[in-house]
């Protein structure tokens, strides 16, 4: 590779020439200055070749100097900090950075996969839809090959060690873009006292105007734009209502002026103790898009060769970074603006062997100025071929109005600057529905001010100013951004002549060498092929060819592509229209999108007041909803099954205690609370006496059982509803949904107080004795009968005691303020010592309830089960006119007696039937699936009965007691007998003692 040091001796407004830094590129040390991008430093060190294209692996150099860059992508950093697909043009160089080229094998210079380029005639757009169809050849052979050669950078393999932060901001006006238009708008609104944010994606203010003025000498209020920008910044910085941010990218505009922005905080200091990036969610009264415009490439043969660049990029590299992509630059243009590039190049001592102007008689002041400096200007001329492969070596000259076959001359050069005109950066405007209008004169789509994106109030929520609004000239640009616009001196320009293909009559051979989408290797010929084959909608053409689907999202290619599609279809450009602009404007990192919510705080774990004690006891945890609960408390080396057995037997034989704090607790209060609960629950709750508890069921509107729990009436107008652990938030939301949307005039208030109370279940024949040992409250059978509650200073605690049972044994649940939970737990342990009290976990709880035939939401129910299926008809009030689900239960299929219903099931050999087993029935259905007649919903080993017990839903099950049916699970068969689901204490004698 040729290595020429091309850093210019002077200039470079963005670099600090006094300081040197170095970074690595493919193992080579690259000298740079602070302020360089990777692209500018690489160019400065003579590395034009910076990437390989996606499909054909063609050698590529940067074509742009900013966010629109499609070619120059690298992988930055190593191991856990490795990040693929970064544009060298927007990545700041920093000392010690390590960059690697990608999508090449074995190396950037020699890439064997460039064989694809040789085969490109056989690989036009969409070729893969037409072949690779034999047998399983696609999945077995071709897809794996394509996958390996596609993709760009390498896939990271380690977790990201960096942290990310998220922030919110609210502003009257958010201005996107820190060029002169953005700063003018900021002055306008800042001076008026509005809360203003100005976001600039690069590290620098000023944008295009400061560079262009180097060429054309434009002034603002008599000042060079650079000085004007400095003064504007000084004024803005002094305004307390204005916030200025560089390195902050406005990524997407969403409904209701919700702007997502990404701020780079520590990208250039990996390992620093700072968040790497900060994602902002901003709300604006109005968003002003001052995002400038993007220059368009021209479509000519060989326009993708390393060294062919946008004219503005060449100018940027010279002025901003004092590097030049070449020593002899040929310019190809259809407008006056590219002449600015000639002027700055000449000033920097770079030769301009020729300017090929596609127009017939260019003659504006800028053209004149260049001509005056003796440059050869060739109107009506174009490029027939770019010579050189990994670096431009020259061009073959031809007439624009020709087939490009007659070479008039070879002009040696090492770079080509091209300009096909400009397109306003309308992305943010369009993200949320802003419409565009085609400007025939200027040949671009500009925002249609009459069809802006609308905010919640139906008014415009965004506005474009400056070049983003289509005001390319400096005077118009500032006038669009400010009411009292400053005085601007800038040279006049002649109109652009839209040219979409040059040479104009190029045949198919040359059109197959004109790149539109550089990264994805989409050429003029591909778009024409799409049109020929009927992929005529702009979306079809895009998808068929992959135009605009690369990492630059078509910033350079879309307009050119749709112009060519329009030509192919012989229709005006507006009839073709654009594809939809999707956020983000440029890609933003997943890490920042996730923000802080990772690892431990991804979904913060909810812990009860007794959590630390459980941990100390070696509890095995089970996640339940967002909580963790002890599944069981195994002793050292004790298998879980043994621990569960021990815990179950403790409850059955003496007494056990369970941390029940996670159960949902919702207070429902108000004059209409009873009426409300009568609608929410299937049973009657309004008639529950104060001091009493009732087990209640909740159904969805469609009649399916959604949750259950004990409801206690606390006072005349207050009920406390217990829900399942996982259901608390959903049930609370469900209640609020009905209250807010349907019964908004009922006087009912709800509060989810789940976390306010710690709750301990004490269960077993000796449960009462434990409570009595604490003293302070009469918990006798008479004073506190089954299904009632009382409050009092139990053992000195401010306690509410519910006499309820989920185990079938004598049971109490004691609720105290969460802060006292651990103290209560310890006292109960202490008091229970005499009875060998044992903590038990969720699994013992499940076994205990299954022995007793109690259903469990989520086991016996799955969203398709109605209370009637579970033999819970007793809980469906017949007195109430209505409740949620009542009407649904009258639907024919639900009212049918012919359903799968809850039964107990016992394997003949006493073994535990596999959970989730299904019972086939004879025959097949019309779709040739085996018929079925039942399934297991819960299955456990019962320590009490010393055998397997199960519950299940079986077709007409309750009518088939004693029948034997076969279940299938994991390919095995188990025969089970249908029995009552209540395996333990069917008369309920243990409960009511």
């Amino acid at each position: 590779m040729t290595r020429r040091i091309t850093r210019l001796d002077r200039g470079g407004r963005l670099i600090d020439r006094a300081r040197d830094i170095t970074f690595c590129f493919d193992g080579r040390r690259i000298p740079a200055h602070p302020g360089d991008t990777l692209a500018s430093a690489l160019l400065g060190a003579g590395h034009v070749l910076q990437g390989r294209s996606f499909k054909y692996h063609r050698p590529r150099g940067p074509v742009a100097a900013g966010a629109e860059e499609p070619n120059a992508l690298v992988t930055l950093g190593g191991r856990a900090r490795m990040e693929p697909d970064l544009r060298t043009t927007t990545t700041e160089a920093f000392d010690g950075a390590e960059a690697r080229s990608q999508n090449r094998w074995p190396g950037l210079g020699l890439d064997l996969l460039a064989i694809n380029d040789r085969l490109s005639a056989f690989m036009p757009a969409g070729f893969y839809y037409k072949t690779f169809m034999a047998g399983r050849s696609w999945e077995k052979l071709f897809e794996p090959i394509i996958r390996r050669s596609a993709g760009l950078g390498p896939a990271p393999t380690e977790a990201d060690p960096d942290s990310y932060e998220q922030a919110y901001a609210f502003a009257d006006v958010i201005i996107v873009g820190g060029g002169v238009a953005g700063l003018a708008a900021a002055l306008e609104h800042g001076r008026a006292g509005a809360r203003v944010w100005v976001l600039e994606q690069t590290p620098h203010w000023g944008g295009r105007a400061v560079v262009d003025a180097e060429a054309d000498g434009a002034t603002i209020d008599g000042l060079a734009p650079e000085a004007w920008v400095k003064a504007a910044l000084a004024e803005l910085e002094a305004l307390p209502n204005v916030t200025l941010r560089t390195r902050m990218l406005a990524a997407g505009l969403h409904d209701h002026a919700h702007l997502i922005a990404l701020e780079s905080v520590a990208d250039t200091t990996p390992g620093a103790d700072l968040p790497r990036q900060r994602l902002w969610r901003m709300r604006a009264g109005k968003v002003i898009v001052a995002a400038g415009a993007l220059e368009r490439p021209l479509s000519f043969p060989g326009n993708d060769r390393p060294g062919v660049m946008l004219a503005s990029a060449v100018r940027d590299y010279i002025v901003n970074w004092a590097v030049s992509p070449g020593k002899r630059i040929v310019i190809l243009t259809n407008n006056d603006d590219a002449y600015r590039t000639a002027l700055v190049a000449l000033d920097a001592g770079i030769a301009i062997p020729a300017i090929l102007d596609l127009r017939k008689t260019p003659n504006g002041p800028l053209v004149q100025a260049v001509r005056d400096r003796g440059v050869r200007i060739l109107p009506g001329h174009s490029i027939a071929k770019v010579l050189g492969s990994k670096q431009v070596k020259g061009i073959a000259l031809c007439r624009h109005e020709s087939r490009g076959e007659a070479w008039l001359e070879r002009i040696p050069c090492d770079a080509v600057a091209m300009s096909g005109g400009w397109s306003p950066t309308v992305h943010l405007w369009s993200h949320c529905g802003g419409k565009l209008a085609w400007d025939t004169e200027a040949a671009f789509f500009a925002p249609d001010p009459d069809k802006p994106p609308l905010g919640a109030d139906g008014k415009a929520m965004a506005q474009c100013v400056g070049a983003a609004a289509g005001a390319l000239r400096l005077d118009a640009c500032l006038a669009s951004a400010m009411s009292a616009a400053p005085q601007v001196e800038t040279p006049a320009e002649e109109p652009i002549q839209p040219v979409w293909v040059t040479p104009a009559e190029a045949g198919p051979h040359l059109r197959a060498k004109m790149w539109l989408d550089f990264q994805n290797d989409v050429k003029v010929s591909d778009i024409q092929l799409a049109a020929r084959e009927g992929y005529q909608s702009v979306e079809h053409a895009k998808r068929y060819t992959t135009l605009g689907m690369a990492t630059d999202q078509g910033k350079l290619s879309n307009i050119n592509g749709l112009a060519i599609l329009s030509q192919a279809l012989d229709q005006p450009i507006p009839a073709t229209g654009t594809t939809t602009f999707r956020p983000p404007y440029t890609p933003i990192g997943f890490g920042a999108i996730a923000g802080e919510a990772r690892g431990e705080i991804f979904q913060p774990l909810r812990r009860t007041a007794m959590d630390a004690w459980h941990e100390d006891q070696g509890a095995h945890w089970e996640p339940v909803g967002q909580w963790r609960r002890p599944y069981c408390y195994p002793g050292k080396a004790e298998p879980h099954s043994a621990a569960i057995e021990r815990e179950v037997l403790a409850v059955r034989n003496s007494v056990g205690m369970l941390d029940a704090s996670t159960l949902g607790k919702i207070i429902v209060k108000g004059p209409d609370a009873g009426r409300f609960l009568d609608m929410i629950y299937t049973n009657m709750m309004s008639t529950l006496a104060v001091g009493k508890c009732r087990y209640g069921l909740m159904c969805s509107e469609n009649g399916f059982l959604m949750d259950d729990g004990v409801v206690a009436r606390l006072s005349e107008d207050t009920w406390l509803c217990h829900t399942t652990t996982g259901g608390a938030e959903a049930i609370h939301a469900h209640m609020e949904d009905w209250l807010q949307c349907e019964w908004w005039d009922w006087k009912v208030w709800t509060a989810n107080v789940t976390e306010a109370y710690a709750q301990v279940a004490v269960a077993g024949p000796n449960a009462r004795k434990v409570l009595e040992a604490l003293g302070g409250v009469d918990v006798s059978r008479e004073a506190l009968p089954h299904m009632s509650w009382t409050a009092g200073p139990l053992g000195g605690f401010d306690a509410r005691i519910y006499r309820i049972s989920f185990s079938g044994e004598l049971g109490f649940e004691i609720a105290v303020p969460t802060s006292q939970g651990m103290a209560l737990w310890s006292r109960l342990l202490e008091a229970g010592k005499a009875f060998d009290i044992r903590p038990y976990g969720t699994e013992a709880l499940h076994v205990l309830r299954a022995e007793k035939g109690f259903i469990m939401i989520g086991d016996e129910t799955d969203g398709t089960v109605i209370p009637q299926d579970l033999g819970l008809n007793w809980a469906l009030s017949k007195k109430k006119a209505d409740f949620l689900g009542k009407r649904a239960h009258q639907r024919s299929f639900m009212a049918s007696p012919d359903r799968w219903k809850l039964v107990g099931l016992e394997s003949l050999d006493g073994s535990v039937i596999p959970e989730c087993a299904i019972a086939p029935a004879p025959g097949e259905n019309a779709n040739r699936q085996r018929n079925t007649q039942g399934r297991i919903t819960s299955s456990y080993y019962s320590p009490t009965l010393k055998r397997g017990i199960a519950m299940g839903l079986v077709h007409n099950g309750p009518d088939r007691m004693g029948e034997e049916i076969i279940f299938n699970a994991d390919g095995k068969e188990v025969t089970a007998r249908i029995v009552s689901p209540v395996f333990y204490d069917p008369k309920g004698e243990k409960l009511d003692v």
Binding site: L152, Y535, Q536, Q553, E622, C916
Partner: protein, 415 residues
Amino acid sequence: MRRYSVFAIAREAMRYHEGWERAWPAPTPKPRYDVIVVGAGGHGLATAYYLGKNFGITNVAVIEKGWLGGGNTGRNTTIIRSNYLQDPSSAIYEKARSLYEGLSRDLNYNVMFSPRGLLMLAQTEHEVRGYKRTVNANDLQGIETRWIGPQEVKDLVPMINLHGPRYPVLGALLQERGGTARHDAVAWGYARGCAAMGMHILQNCEVTAIRSENGQVSEVETTRGTIGCKKLAIVVAGHSSVMAEKAGFRLPVESMALQALVSEPIKPMIDVVVMANTVHGYLSQSDKGELVIGGGTDGFVNYSQRGSWQHVEETIRALIETFPPISRLRMLRQWGGIVDMTGDRSPILSKTPVGNIFINCGWGTGGFKAIPGSGWAMAELVANGEPGPLAADFGLERFREGRFIDESVAAGVAH
């Protein structure tokens, strides 16, 4: 129709690909067709295709208000699976999946069906039970799925984080012949197949009114004029309730936005499709190298084809937790589609209150995988006027009767 093949490509390469013919013509509407299908998404096109192929009915127009395949068919994350729990669902999804196996050859258009294997992670005991139940059900339904433990999950997806801390991976439901296909190609392949049978695909043609006489459909009003028909199939996904209203009946359907996003392309990172329903995210990698990502629907009714940012954040968080190395990849593009959600999250293939109008909708977040099977069953319904066994359980009457087909049982998110 000239056949596509490697030889055809070689021949065309010699003449700069100037000789390819149109994949589908752009005809002028006829005054009348035997069958009009409204909606040129995958389901509408497949309906037309199988009407021709299986029933010889070819005097058919498929009417599309925009560009064919531009609805959810061109916006989805292309997951294909048939590991459904309920019998009627697994029957139609498996029919679809098995048709996908041979679809490229049938259509002579490579739809890139890639049965790379699909995993649904179980991250709570509850999910473990749900998926084990599905495996047992699938076994009786004749669908190959199996339960695999965490180590096998890790072998299939080396970048996965099995250990939480929040939700450890306890195992997964694996369907080895589940996977993905190229969504656009499915629409284009069917469209080309329809056109080859002489059917008309009328794009940029919006149906604005539906007329009937004596309770029988007679014609539709469109932006390209009035077109008569003997039978009408409405297959418009997110806009089903709008169309039903035009025909004079109501549907138990809500339309909401479902979002998806892709990363920038990278070299192969994951070879299978993984769905993590506890945390609400799923992920696969396209042949281009982009990670294709989706999550749950937005919780509000909406037609805007944009979604809420909050959902994007939640989905990404869920996936970084599950696949930590993706943190330093970047989101390239995000979009939304309007999905048609029924009360039981299962589709509707049904006769309607209007004679000879048939509706196919309600595929919601998961109908890409169903396209061939749905088209097959819908063609049968339209041709015979009565549903065959595949569609029988998906009639509108099930909502009146309470005969729901609820799939949320086994999976929180149903893609």
